[in-house]
Symmetry: C2
Subunit: 205 residues, 2 copies
């Protein structure tokens, strides 16, 4: 082979990233070789900085530059409502709506028999501790849990599992609405989504 061992090493690392295959990794590596040196080094430095400066909040499990994170620390956020999500990316998505003023709990995934993800691998124990120790984060007792796991097989199973687990604690447990997405076309909606949309219908106000 006439290739470069350093280039091969970079391709090997890039291929480990999610949804980057061998061809994409090669294209990315050659791109990083071609761009101005400073641009490539800026990416390397950004990766290093993220791992040096960003950690996770011990309360909610979201990434954070401090512990507790900005949301868990913010007295303006309503500590009596906790929205349970699978991943930190879900927190970013919900925050962008600007509609939620409560706090979060990041599970770190969803239950999946196929992928072998069991309850012990998610931050479920931490969630229960959080619910049983009212005011531990200086936020008062939790009164509502919003289950905002993904509307797919694993996410639904996780929501069901959590609702059975939390139900006996006497909290209000809700699930985000599943239905036809805004801007979509009924004609092209799948059966399950349409069924959920019918099931979840509400009085017109």
């Amino acid at each position: 082979m006439y290739s470069s061992k350093y280039l091969e090493l970079l391709i090997d690392e890039l291929v480990k990233l999610p949804s980057i295959g061998q061809k994409s990794a090669q294209r990315l590596a050659l791109h990083l070789l071609k761009v101005p040196r400073e641009d490539a080094l800026r990416l390397a430095e950004a990766i290093r900085a993220v791992r040096e400066r960003v950690g996770f909040c011990a309360t909610c499990g979201n990434f954070s530059e401090g512990d507790p994170c900005g949301i868990c620390r913010d007295p303006q956020r309503d500590g009596s409502i906790v929205c349970v999500v699978e991943q930190p990316g879900d927190v970013l998505a919900l925050e962008r709506t600007g509609m939620f003023r409560g706090r979060y709990h990041v599970l770190g995934g969803a239950l999946s028999p196929l992928e072998g993800t069991s309850p012990e691998q998610l931050r479920i124990r931490e969630l229960l501790e959080r619910l049983r120790a009212p005011g531990a984060d200086g936020a008062g007792e939790v009164r509502e849990i919003i289950l905002a796991t993904n509307p797919n097989v694993n996410g639904e199973a996780t929501a069901l599992y959590l609702s059975r687990l939390i139900g006996p604690l006497g909290l209000r447990v809700t699930r985000i609405a599943r239905g036809v997405p805004m801007g979509s076309d009924l004609e092209y909606s799948d059966l399950v989504t349409l069924s959920r949309a019918l099931e979840g219908r509400r009085e017109v106000e």
Copy 2:
């Protein structure tokens, strides 16, 4: 915003990579935050190492850990045949076939009026110098140029441009065959490919 400035910086850098959009960049950044610290730092280090150890060969324009590169330096390679390609990735692809024992010339792109790529931005001057200075790379006179630019609008235009430029020098100028790809289905081949396949038909041996 409750996000992290370091995470935002990383997303900004990732989004500059080819075919990585805002959503992919965010997913990649969160992935790099979640994997073991050593894995993330290994990627950062691989990027840095590539930029420190890998440069370009002044003769053929391919990336290389030395100058001239392994192929231009190898006395076993036939210096009388030069295969002209657009990108270093094309050299890797052709090398994988194991069918070509000549040398390469990497243009660094293709002519494109739309993207504003003109002949001066490609390594065409270097190609002509290489053809006019026989034996300069210790390889003897070039007798054949294989035009292996991509079989798309820009690549075809570049091949045509080069064939007119090089034709007067009295070399053999060839173009790689365009036709139906192996393993494909005639029924689903596009018109241009099928036309090329008919045009380029050869006697069955």
